[in-house]
């Protein structure tokens, strides 16, 4: 069922547009990578603050409210460009363990954000230092796994044919 959805998506007008020129993939991929640096880069700094490792003198919610617009913009760009990249080879992505790993980690980090991270970084948060450290460490770990998974897709999966 899910596989048929991927096959259908791989033949959709979006996929045809992406495959219409050999330059479409690298252009979208570059945008994807520039914004992942912004997304993960700003997330890492907030997480290190939560873990009490950096910028200790700055209140968490203040740093969060300054950095979050950039993290969010990065996330939105990922959600727009990621599916475009997926469309170029959707049925092979479906079979790839690297892709499944990345999507599982991505789903976890979003879930963790809604359930825990968001509450810990809120202005009126009552979370103690233990919760803060846990939220920072988990978020750091999960985002790193998303990056590792993303690179693994590009190298391990695509190198089979390239």
């Amino acid at each position: 069922m899910l596989f048929r959805l991927f096959v259908w998506y791989g033949e959709s007008p979006i996929a045809r547009a992406m495959n219409s020129s050999e330059w479409m993939f690298p252009i979208v991929e570059v945008i994807h990578m520039i914004w992942i640096v912004l997304l993960v880069g700003t997330a890492v700094i907030l997480d290190l603050r939560l873990m009490d490792l950096r910028l200790k003198r700055m209140p968490v919610w203040e740093l969060a409210s300054d950095l979050m617009p950039w993290t969010t913009a990065g996330l939105v760009t990922m959600l727009l460009t990621g599916p475009l990249l997926l469309s170029t080879d959707a049925d092979r992505y479906y079979d790839s363990y690297e892709f499944r790993f990345k999507m599982a980690c991505f789903a976890l980090v979003l879930l963790f954000d809604v359930l825990v991270h968001r509450r810990v970084r809120a202005k009126n948060s009552t979370a103690g230092p233990g919760w803060q450290r846990f939220a920072g460490a988990m978020s750091l770990l999960l985002w790193s796994c998303v990056v590792v998974g993303g690179r693994a897709i590009g190298i391990l999966m695509l190198s089979v044919t390239r």
Binding site: E22, P26, E29, V30, M33, I34, I36, V37, L38, V40, G41, T42, V44, I45, L48, R54, L55, R57, M58, E62, L63, D66, L67, W70, S144, V147, V148, G150, R151, A152, G154, I155, L156, S159
Partner: protein
């Protein structure tokens, strides 16, 4: 000794061979390169955003000081993995125009950091107008470096 013979020697080294011919030998530095980039690039971008006034706090001197260990760690990882990747494919890369442009841009970004940023790091707030120029230049150069990095794999010559 020609550039070509140096590149051939680099490719023949143990590191060059491992990266070129083994599964994880290639994957590990690729993954490390991007993770290091998120650390180093993230810290640099946040610095630049602060200089451009897109972040309100903390004071630039404190922010950049706090981010120094992140930059060093990211820098070492990025340079180390980048060198390993270059060694695996040196004879192709040295005549790949995207790689050569990337190398030139890296020199420019280092120059920007060395010349302009040094002055900015020493000054106290309010920051001089040159701080914004330097930060904008830095963002622009890093943007172009990522673009040329991705282009390396897409433009000739082939193997």
């Amino acid at each position: 000794m020609s550039v070509l013979s140096i590149c051939q020697a680099l490719e023949a080294t143990w590191i060059g061979t491992q990266v070129r011919e083994t599964y994880w030998g290639y994957a590990a530095p690729q993954i490390a390169h991007l993770l290091g980039m998120a650390l180093f690039g993230g810290a640099v971008v946040v610095d630049d955003l602060r200089l451009l006034g897109r972040l309100r706090r903390p004071a630039f001197s404190e922010l950049s000081h706090q981010l120094v260990p992140l930059k060093w760690l990211g820098f070492v990882v990025v340079v180390g993995s980048g060198l390993a990747l270059f060694m695996s494919d040196a004879t192709r890369l040295y005549r790949n125009w995207a790689f050569l442009v990337k190398a030139a841009l890296l020199l420019l970004v280092a120059l920007n950091a060395g010349v302009f940023r040094a002055a900015v790091y020493r000054s106290v707030e309010p920051l001089p107008p040159s701080a914004k120029v330097s930060a904008g230049l830095s963002l622009l150069l890093w943007f172009a470096i990522i673009v040329t990095s991705r282009l390396i794999g897409f433009v000739g010559p082939e193997y």
